[in-house]
Amino acid sequence: MWLLYVSIAIVLMSLNIFIVKKLIKKVNPYLIILYQYLIAVPIVIIYSLFSNAELFTGNVAIIFLGVVYVTAIVLYYIALKKGSLSKVTPVFNMKMIIPAILGIIFLSETISIQLIIGLLFGALGVYFLGSDKK
């Protein structure tokens, strides 16, 4: 069942970014995100209620993360406006590099060979995609 769910997630989120790529030529990225999230809030409330999650149990500080969150998404959408979908999305999705590095610095997590090779591939990926002028 989880494989079906993750497959649905992949298709929906990919279609979303495809639509954003088409919209971003005409609509201001701030407006796209505002209206996206205005519709997303009630939808997530409904899904939360269905999954028996209690709405008021979260740390309120997470709301403040919205500032950083929205900045990241705006920059991502601007990048989509300027660059191609096939280059911007692979670079952006390497975001898990950052928690890995922060985990080493702040949580004293161990540095494994797997992590080092992963980071090297990440750097190579950014190099290949970023240096391709076509």
Binding site: L3, A9, I17, Y69, S86, P90, L102, L119
Partner: protein
């Protein structure tokens, strides 16, 4: 600045959020974390748009597409969290990350007629290997 600079800054900020959320939300349902982030984002955006005097106007057809996009992203993320709840995170997270890296790239190649170069292919392969190694 070109697209790579914007993407890298966005990537770092999103990565930092992933780390921060992980730090203080062990006890919180991920859907609630997502909901609170969206609420915070809406508040921030509303005031930013007001201060910057950006018009809230958008034509009806575009608004429908944006709403569809909002439905897709929120439903997609909700299914992702459901999958994490049902399956092992060590399987769900790499599959999801590879999927959301590869599938949009294929949509770009086939539907937006973006150029397929050796460097793009190599870059996508490297990023997929990176994502797998960092998430398994």
């Amino acid at each position: 600045m070109n697209w790579i600079h914007y993407t890298l800054i966005a990537m770092v900020l999103q990565g930092a959020i992933l780390f921060t959320v992980k730090l203080f939300s062990f006890q919180t349902n991920p859907l609630i974390v997502l909901l609170y982030q969206y609420v915070g984002s809406v508040i921030v955006l509303f005031f930013y748009i007001l201060i910057k005097k950006i018009s809230f106007k958008i034509n009806f057809k575009e608004l429908l597409w944006v709403f569809l996009s909002g439905f897709l992203v929120s439903t997609g993320l909700s299914f992702y969290y459901l999958a994490i709840g049902l399956g092992e995170a060590s399987k769900v997270i790499p599959i999801h990350n590879v999927g959301i890296t590869l599938f949009p790239a294929l949509l770009g190649f086939f539907f937006l007629k973006e150029k397929v170069t050796k460097k793009t292919i190599l870059g996508i392969i490297c990023s997929i290997v990176c994502v797998i190694l960092l998430t398994i």
